[in-house]
Amino acid sequence: MTRAAARAAALVALAVIALAFAGPFVWVLLASVQPEAGLTAKPSLDFSFRNFAAVLNWETIYQPVINSIVISGATAVLTVVVSGLAAYPLSRYKLRYGRHFMLTLLFTTGLPVTAIMVPVYSMFFRFNLYGSIPAMVLFLAASSLPFAIWMMKNFMDGVPVSLEEAAWVDGAGWVRSMLRVVWPLMAPGVAVVAIFVFVNQWGNFFVPFVLLDAPEKQPAAVTIYTFFSQYGAVAYGELAAFSIIYTTPAVVLYIAVNKYLAGSFSFAGSVKG
């Protein structure tokens, strides 16, 4: 095969792959703006925002999205604060069990969270925490922590100790030097961790599905599932509009941190701790 032919073959293959991946999206995009949308992505000349208008009400969109913002936001803030604190001694001191601790965290990131949901539910039920959003946020933060601590520690390692030494000379303790020197210098890292946790929880379906009891507490991930299983067979256009509204924040936030996450995938091969 000549070079040109190989190049053409590669381009054709990439085009086929891109089309195949775009395929399932087509229906959502088309159905959302077509007033008489069915399951088929059949383009017609009709165009309206009626589907969006139909779902923009308190029960369908506003309340679930507010719940999602509260749950994901609270989890992200709590995770960032707790992991930011934990990263400090791990990054700054030679701890006797520091390496063991980091390896244990890395091991924990591999455990399937889905698997522990039955015992978690049973625990929540026993201690009367079933249906409590704050208790669920604590659980979500704990499940995000192993990974967040890893990221935070790596960011913190990038802040030179010499800058902190200057603060110590001025009489600042670790609390002040952490708050005034280290955290501000790693602000982009803090933002990446926060957004990363937020986006993950935004899409989280199983945990709220299991741990929350009332529909008015549920985040959009669960509401959209309920909507889908109840009206999915009739209100396609509305389901599509709902999907787009719910998906947009995740996409926007992903694009925002994309640049910072870009170089990070080489870490499947090696991890710096």
Partner: protein, 310 residues
Amino acid sequence: MTVTTVTPPSRPAGSPVLAEEPRRRGGALRRLLPLLPALVLLVIFMAGPILWSLYISFTNETLTGSASVDSRFVGLENFVKLFGDDAFRNSFLLTFVFVIGSAVIGQNTLGLFIALLQRGRGRVVRSVVNGVVIAAWVVPEVVAAACWYSFLSEEGTLNEVLAFLGLSQDWLFTAPMLAVTLANVWRGTAFSMLVYSAALSDVPGDLLEAAAVDGASGWRRFTGVTLPLIRRSILSNLMLITLQTLASFGLIYAMTGGGPGTASQTTPLYMYDQAFRYFEIGYGSAMALVMLVIGALFSLVYLRLIKVET
């Protein structure tokens, strides 16, 4: 769960962790104080449920009936039941098929294939392909399920396309495992693609050129040079995607609900069914424990594979 660990500029080699301790340090306990909130959360909400599952999987805990107020120790009863349960065996087999089909074969191979094809392509081509593949990854799983549900359903897009070949059918009914496998390949390939793009960019170009000069064909260069160099990335990628796929719940649950019948009921769905529909919490926890042990084994293999520098 993802492997992304963002690399900041690393500390200059050889520089001490701390040139001088803070002057007002107050012993080891005080230095460890910032770790405390994280430890408390991890112990209560991560270690707690795991230990709790160890306990209740040996009891007859249920949510209804007499055992709900007064559960008792039943020894290995749940596990004996588990290994003799045809539905569990069915679910385990389906989980195996799902992991092999969608992760090991699907995502892994397709991800590597796309990463290879993209090498040396122009910026525009790369960003278009990356864009759609990553978009499928970023979309929340329930939305992904809705997309695929409509794409594959009886009057869906795929059947419209296939109608003129006479191949249209209700895919979610006739081939539910194929449907959820395809959906998961679609959703997860981006991760493998990104891992392999990074790994391939570390393969020195002059090595490949040298092999080409020696007359090695494209395939020979791939198997002889590229593959051995990215071996570690392949293995750890396989471990990570296996761990993610093993516990996959939302996508399958929203697409088929495990059905028709139990035709796509993987272990997480069977566990959910037993625990939350039949309220067999003890039995469900025994299943959870089996999944945790399998997950832990894969996670340990992953830890052995990667190089952790400290």
